[in-house]
Symmetry: C2
Subunit: 401 residues, 2 copies
């Protein structure tokens, strides 16, 4: 057994989160794609079966009240809240991330305009996951703004009296770079504008501190580190003191103050439910609720500590096993700049990833030349990491440059 | 046994659709709320279990391609298409009805404006299910239009050169009135504007004829007559010849021509997928797909014929059993003006419905004074109808005016 494999064994033996792995359905694959689709928590199939057979099949329409379907979006929001540093009553679950980015960004522009005229520019991370750029373009068009894509490091210099809203990613989906949420939030606020943070790659992976840092609005994904299942609904955070002024571009009947009053006039609900739109998709929503049970008693700080240990160890193993120069790490080395993934630039990355998957190491390929490996501390261990790096080295020897 | 009960027995014996009832999970309740939440098809729990345990749990990320998750929105759209008179390739499933109304209505306004300036009025059914009015208000605000609520019968007179788009309901959610889709569509077209039809209460209940009548855009619900489950995703129809000009206000990455290209520039997909937004919620989506199996070999005309026979028979039983003047029928008598529900205005309707439900007859109450009974021809029979009217009469005797 190699020195690194021995180290992995010891690290696993002293891992406080190691027992969590048993709460997931896993096999002998090294699953490093939980930043795309989290693994299935053991509790979910039974719960979904009960929702389908009993709550829908037997209680039918009565379940909207008797099984708590109606209040699920805010109830589940409150389950997510502590994972992203938010007090209760500020998060609502529903719709896709893209739809929530639209709500949040248009809402942010409207908030900015309350403070005075002339705010006509939406600043967006130029390296964002594309959907945010597309949706921001639509939000700009529909609010009479210009879209200004800016590299995150240049955002502070781009802000000013014209800034209507800023949309940033906490962790870059491609490189795994962690952006400085506290200082960027402060910079946007200094320019008198609200900021919308996309937490897709940080919620459930590292501390976010939404309340602590005074973030205005945020959206996040629940099927990555939160293991809610394929296409599970996203979440929307609106800071408590902004909720009464949050003016959603999608004022569906679920966000009405009196949803069953069937009023012709729209009067928005108070609190987090104002971010709701139409009827929530209950099967995916309640699968997510069951999936969140794995977080009971898990401090996010412990998750972060293990995440950094995993990515550190992976980088060490890659350096030890892979021929120098064959891959280049896109993920920053400083802990303060690293999310919970490692991205390696690599020639023939598509073919390399295919072979890796064929040999039981599942990451993903991002066009045009990136191998992406996500490290989900609740179910990935150090022996997995060592094996992934070892198999990567083998595959890279088979695929000559 | 009363004469009406005997008639019910005969009608059930000669009902061609009677065997369909066995494809649903039902008990001895008379379920007349399938226009709100359809009953559970027998095939769904097994399919959902397989999606969760095998497709998500075992295949994980591979299921996006290997289990056909990625193409589900348009594949399932093509399953719905024949039920609403649409050729394949024009319907996509995903998001809530409210979100789809927003897409369709903003898209319609943009289509209208291609033909010339001055179109600045969105006409909306003044008696609509409220969410459509709220969303139409937002669409108007964000496209620089005025919202003009008009009673459906007065729509033709309200149309003109300022009309940017018209949003109409095929069947009124409250009264069950069926509006004249062919003639209203022709009237809107004569005014040079596109029309958006809301099919929530007609899809799966009666023939719609989207293609035949040249409808421009339509949205519909899948958890009522299509039995997709609580909060199952809605659908969006964009007529084939308009798809290249359909300009969605929610251009998420799923609607990109090359969704995995991760391009900074948005380039819309061709065809129905242009109506997609973000990652579709797979559990609800695939539950819906399994639910649609009950339609195999079922002609919509047969469903319509039975639906009218059921509502006719219910009205006859109510007239026979209920004291004159105690309820007033809001649903039109002419077949051409009736959907698949009967709405009765009734004093103390809330209490009456509570007692009905307590005695195994489930309809719903709509504020302030409406008893609503939905008739789903795939699983409601004539004996159910007779019993519902009989129990209603008993309850009305207990609740004095």
């Amino acid at each position: 057994m190699s020195e690194l494999a021995l180290r992995a064994e010891k690290l696993d033996a002293s891992d406080e989160l190691a027992a969590k792995r048993r709460e997931f359905v896993l096999d002998d694959v090294v699953y490093l794609d939980g930043n795309s689709l989290g693994a299935l928590p053991v509790a979910v199939p039974g719960r979904v079966g009960d929702v389908v057979r009993r709550e829908w099949g037997e209680l039918r329409i009565r379940s909207w009240t008797e099984s708590g379907w109606w209040t699920a979006p805010e109830r589940i929001g409150d389950r997510i809240a502590p994972l992203v540093g938010a007090a209760a009553g500020q998060i609502v679950v529903g719709d896709s991330t893209s739809v929530n980015v639209f709500k949040a960004l248009v809402g942010a522009v409207r908030l900015a305009r309350e403070t005075g005229p002339g705010r006509d520019e939406i600043v967006v991370d130029a390296t964002t996951f594309p959907t945010n750029g597309y949706i921001a373009g639509s939000a700009a068009r529909m609010t009479g703004c210009t879209l200004r894509p800016v590299a995150p490091s240049e955002v502070p210099g781009a802000l000013g009296g014209r800034t209507a809203a800023v949309l940033l990613n906490h962790v870059d989906y491609r490189t795994g770079r962690l952006h400085d949420l506290p200082s960027l939030t402060a910079a946007v606020h200094a320019a008198g504008a609200p900021v919308v943070w996309d937490l897709c790659h940080s919620a459930g992976a590292l501390p976010v501190g939404l309340d602590e840092h005074g973030v205005d609005l945020a959206v996040g994904c629940t099927y990555k580190y939160l293991n809610g299942g394929p296409g599970a609904p996203a979440f929307l955070y609106v800071r408590a003191d902004l909720q009464d002024r949050f003016d959603s571009p999608l004022p569906g009947w679920n966000s009405h103050a009196e949803p069953f009053g069937m009023r012709a006039e729209y009067r928005p609900a108070t609190g987090a439910p104002r971010g709701r739109v139409g009827t929530p998709d209950i099967l995916s929503m309640l699968a997510l609720e069951a999936a969140l049970d794995v977080w009971d008693g898990v401090p996010v700080d412990a998750v972060r500590a293990k995440s950094l240990a995993l990515t550190d160890f992976f980088l060490e193993c890659v350096e030890a096993y892979v021929a120098e120069g064959r891959v280049a790490c896109l993920t920053p080395r400083p802990h303060g700049e690293r999310g919970s993934q490692v991205a390696l630039r690599c020639e023939d990355a598509g073919e390399v990833m295919e072979r890796l998957i064929g040999r039981g190491v599942v990451g993903d390929f991002r066009h045009p030349d990136v191998l992406r490996f996500g490290f989900t501390p609740l179910y990935v261990g150090f022996a997995d990491v060592e094996r992934a790096a070892r198999v990567l080295a083998e595959v890279l020897e088979e695929v000559p440059v």
